[in-house]
């Protein structure tokens, strides 16, 4: 499963103490580190995309919101084999029965990973991560040494398969600090094309790797297949300096760095009143 594996500490992070439960009177009370804010930013990334491979957690909220706002035709694909999901309720995981009932196709895992994913049908792979580094390598395996790690993370699941073959990867991080965004990952579960290229003589994967990282502070983007992550936007109230200081490498800032537009009241209302009514991800 391509779980939202960003929480590798114990106890809730600041990002988890969100504004859920309050009325949507003023969207200014939706802070940039909240699930509502991040999901809305992530949803916007799906505008114009045909097919999205969605993981658990924030990606679930984001694809649902995108389908109700910027991209009603987006096709939701899950590693469990579901293609063209039309869930009647919010999915609690990528193998939830609500994703299956009423879906357009329920494929074998071989067809899903082999035909759909390796076959190049996935436009955006939506992943969580514990760490993303400068060139977009992802770590979802361990913090510390693999033999006896400080934290045993969930591992690859489908992530390294998705990284190799989805056209591009969007990552949502629940924290923005040098641990989550180091210069180099502790362990590379899912490699950037930059790292894949170093393995000379190997058939190179088709995927462009991580193109976008959405964090509680801003949006990082890689300009091309072999480039490095740059600061493309900061969230309202966040300074460029703040984003740079909290990144584990000397973060390049785009000349056209922008401020992320706030969620609309309707986005927040949909998330709270129609999508995550049980407050599974909005806490």
């Amino acid at each position: 499963m391509t779980a939202d594996s960003s929480r590798h500490g114990s106890g809730p992070s600041t990002a988890e103490r969100s504004s859920a439960g309050r009325p949507v009177a003023d969207v200014a009370d939706v802070p940039p580190h909240s699930a509502e804010f991040l999901a809305t930013v992530a949803a916007r990334e799906l505008a114009g995309r045909h097919r999205v491979f969605a993981g658990v957690g924030l990606p679930t909220l984001a694809v649902d919101l995108a389908k109700r706002t910027v991209n009603p035709g987006v096709e939701l694909v899950y590693e469990s084999g579901v293609v063209g999901a039309h869930p009647e309720a919010m999915a609690e995981g990528i193998a939830d029965s609500v994703l299956v009932s009423g879906s357009e196709a329920m494929l074998s895992m071989d067809a899903l990973f082999g035909y759909v994913l390796q076959g190049g049908y996935v436009d955006v792979g939506f992943l969580g991560a514990a760490q993303v580094d400068r060139v977009g390598n992802i770590n979802t395996s361990v913090i510390g040494d693999w033999r006896r790690p400080e934290v045993r993370l969930p591992g690859s699941g489908g992530a390294s398969d998705i990284m190799a073959s989805a056209r591009e990867i969007v990552v949502v991080l629940r924290r923005h600090d040098p641990h989550a965004l180091p210069a180099d990952v502790d362990f590379c579960t899912s490699p950037s094309p930059v790292r894949a290229r170093r393995q000379e003589g190997f058939h190179q994967p088709e995927g462009a790797g991580v193109t976008t990282v959405i964090t509680p502070l801003g949006i990082l983007r890689r300009p091309d297949r072999y480039g490095e992550l740059e600061l493309a936007a900061v969230h309202p109230g966040v300074t460029v300096a703040e984003a740079a200081e909290n990144t584990g490498w000397d973060l390049r800032v785009r000349a056209d760095v922008a401020e992320t537009p706030r969620p609309r009241a309707e986005d927040v209302r949909l998330l709270r009143e129609e999508i995550d009514t049980v407050r599974l991800y909005l806490r």
Binding site: V83, S97, V98, V100, M106, Y115, V116, G119, E206
Partner: protein
């Protein structure tokens, strides 16, 4: 879910099948896309590389009509009904011209589609050790197992320009459901750059979505959907109509005589405007003889979460 891809067979073939292309028309004895093949003949396509595990009468007809210059296949006869004489004339006597063939076993051919669909550089299989087939087909190669069990034969991906399949039903966006013998249709579709699906019936999305496990080719892999009832004749569509075994027997003497075969193509394909015309010429009585009695699968439940 995408928009409607429903079109006519004339338009689908005109849009997606061009001279010189590599074309897969799959269906293993069942759901052979005859109507689509006949439309290729009507549109007088030339120089096609035809891919079919079991060429069947359809390939014999496309050869007679001059559409095919190359054949990639794993069986060169017609099931129980014997030789395909146009293929034999081309191969044995180069009459009217030689036919380039590329030959596999069934599983070898299937694995080529699998590798094509999965964008794998090769797929291993256990066949061919000691066989003469690799010697005459340089595409069958071998790889040393890195786990120490010796060499194993592999086949390369097969990626058709266009794959055409026939199925019992699809919705307008192309979610395609088939049952009975499912052959190489799904990997052949995923391996191709373009996919045409002809179906017995275009159904509402709700029908498809009530039983998603029956969808073997999702809409995202499909470019054109055409409703062509009877589109597999003289092969069959499980639950819809049976194989026209008499037709298979009748083809043998036709195929044996090139002039008779050409005359058949002129009369039955060029002499009919489309598949509806072909079926009308075949006649209602013959069609009635192919009908099958219902044998319901029964219904299972997928369940809905209660509020």
């Amino acid at each position: 879910m995408t928009g409607s891809k429903v079109t006519t067979l004339t338009e689908a073939v005109a849009a997606h099948v061009r001279d010189g292309m590599t074309v897969a028309l799959e269906g293993f004895g069942h759901l052979i896309p005859f109507a689509a093949g006949h439309e290729i003949i009507r549109q007088r396509r030339r120089d096609l590389t035809m891919c079919r595990m079991t060429p069947d009468i359809l390939t014999d007809q496309l050869l007679v009509a001059g559409c095919v210059s190359r054949l990639v296949a794993s069986f060169f006869a017609s099931g129980s009904a014997g030789s395909l004489y146009e293929i034999r004339r081309r191969v044995e006597q180069h009459d009217p011209a030689p036919l380039e063939t590329e030959e596999y076993s069934h599983y070898g051919m299937y694995c080529r589609y699998e590798a094509g669909a999965k964008r794998l550089p090769f797929q291993p299989l256990l066949s061919y050790v000691g066989s003469d087939l690799p010697a005459l087909n340089p595409r069958i190669r071998s790889v040393e197992s890195p786990y120490g069990e010796g060499r194993v034969y592999v086949v390369p991906p097969l990626n058709p320009d266009v794959t055409i399949v026939h199925a019992q039903r699809a919705d307008a966006s192309g979610n395609t459901q088939l049952w009975g013998i499912t052959g190489a249709q799904a990997p052949a579709a995923y391996a191709a750059s373009a996919v045409i699906v002809t179906v017995e019936e275009i159904v509402a999305p709700e029908v498809v979505r009530a039983d998603p496990n029956r969808t073997l080719i999702p809409a995202h892999a499909v470019d054109a959907v055409v409703e062509v009832p009877g589109g597999a004749h003289p092969s069959y569509a499980q639950g819809c109509y049976d194989r026209d075994s008499a037709f298979y027997r009748e083809w043998t003497p036709i195929s044996r005589d090139r002039e008779a075969a050409l005359a058949w193509i002129d009369e039955w394909i060029h002499g009919t405007a489309d598949h509806a015309g072909y079926l009308a010429k075949l006649g209602q009585q013959r069609w009635d003889g192919l009908r099958v009695a219902p044998a319901p699968s029964g219904s299972v439940s997928y369940g809905r979460r209660k509020e």
